[in-house]
Symmetry: C2
Subunit: 358 residues, 2 copies
Amino acid sequence: MDLTFLGTASCFPLPSRGVSCIVFRRDGECWMFDCGEGSQIQIHESNIKPGKLTKIFITHLHGDHLFGLPGLMCTIGQTSSEKELPLELYGPTGLRKYIRVSLELSRSMLGFDYVVHELSVPEEELPEDWETWHPKHTADTGPVHPNEKEGRLIKPDENGVWHCCETNQMKVMAAPITHRIPSFGFVLHEKPQPGKLDPQKLKDRGVPPGPLYAKIKNGEAIITEAGETIRPDDVLGPKRPGRKIVILGDTSCNSKIAAISRNADVLVHEATLENELREKCVGNGHSTPEMAAEFANDINARKLILTHFSQRYRPAAHELKEGEESVTKLLEQAKRVFINKDLIAAEDLMQVSIPAKK
Amino acid sequence: MDLTFLGTASCFPLPSRGVSCIVFRRDGECWMFDCGEGSQIQIHESNIKPGKLTKIFITHLHGDHLFGLPGLMCTIGQTSSEKELPLELYGPTGLRKYIRVSLELSRSMLGFDYVVHELSVPEEELPEDWETWHPKHTADTGPVHPNEKEGRLIKPDENGVWHCCETNQMKVMAAPITHRIPSFGFVLHEKPQPGKLDPQKLKDRGVPPGPLYAKIKNGEAIITEAGETIRPDDVLGPKRPGRKIVILGDTSCNSKIAAISRNADVLVHEATLENELREKCVGNGHSTPEMAAEFANDINARKLILTHFSQRYRPAAHELKEGEESVTKLLEQAKRVFINKDLIAAEDLMQVSIPAKK
């Protein structure tokens, strides 16, 4: 399980740093979180295969998180052999219209199907001036694209949690975070994992080391040569808790997602501007390193990864010119709050492994 | 006067080569032709200032010519000091809806105004299956963006020429070229330029070398110390013809734009695939180097610049791996037809000067 940061800048892309895009990978399957302009170019610098993307989650519809999506979809269609399952997209209402119109006007056939599941946006998440300049923005428009299959409208449960999807191994939930426009954070929760295999127990029952070990480790029962059925519970230790990864988009307040974020193994949190610019930062719906670190403490996160840095902060490895500052400044500010803990500043193409729990 | 190639690949962008985007520059003013994804990143590698863009022309609405536009507009808004005049955009019908929906759904305020002038698309330019999957695609949708000012619908004159715009020094015309979707080529025609200054004539009338020389060269009358008025025609040689630049987008046949392209000083023409793949190439609405060179001969172009290469052809300067081919192959094929003439293959960030005529 790992995260690959394809873009770590806010606002607009530069040759030195792309805009928001993160790929979560588990057992070869890839899920993307946000897709700013140029993400498909960055992918080629990484070891992510675009054809392996099965789900794309969009935190909010600002261009630096969204404008790379239609191009990426076209490129997957042009370069990957036919995908069997539809590509599944999740994001706030409006996402379906954006994709539909972009593909329709560019007359792009994809060679694979896609489906958009929209997260309903509650009234209270809309900015005050919402109605004044695009009252109809969530309405679907025109005919459906030939590659579009019918998606769901995902509504919150009684606890204010949007249940996006569930696979054999994972569950993805979302909840609103505060930004200038409706914005969601995503919580990826791995289901409990099989316990540790006790090889002595298998040997005692006459099973030699080999492929049967892998089978039983994956939760399947096996039958020995002597005809005896061995169930995973017979030879595996207690189940291990699954990992929890919390990926937030642009945010100045995370109170509504705190409850489902508790004890995250990894928290990805934006830190757009330094602490000294907190007022401006919060005014724009963003966080300072201090705010990110405080939230990490609040939810008892094990590891905090900062990202979404203003382009005014140069990548840490760059040689600074007179008057320039680097992302290291933001990292140091977070360190003063998230003390003696696992804390890093993401950089483009950085890959972060998330080890299994013991 | 020069052209800067910001992207020279077809279909999808790679780190080694971006998709279609060309900037024409004259006296500091910049006009962009097509804006594929990542064009705003490429700009930063060039000496073009995004804030100097006053007009953007889109040849057709395929993503590799279009998907960089909303992001570029947002970035201009975020990074340039307020633009006084609206940014003017020109392209086939559908362009206005694409920009409006992209800006509206991403809730992007620009900090400057823009206006979209759409080129009407005649029935005969529509592919046969046009109506089957987006009959309403040209309809405008929803409320107008606060930064959008009312644009024109440009219709062809009796000769099948779309007159896009005229400035003090330039005229831009368009005509359809054949592609899978409606596509236009653009002809930039500079107006006749002042003739050469004869300094002896000015000296004879008692005007010493200095700022008055520049004034009269720019077409203004001057008054000497003795009170005599000297008009430009008195001291300038015959007017010099203006330059003509023809920029075509994706095309497999240019017959409708040939008449207004004659004697082009520069022809920018796509050459997507090699001659041996002509059938596939034309089937996809594209040209081979031979086809590009034949058209350059037909219109008596002085200089031919090839661009829009399939990513299967690596940039000329790249070290080729086993089995790889480079753009040089395409260039050589064009050379066999456009013989002993000025011919180059564009590459990303290449800048081509277009000298004034004598």
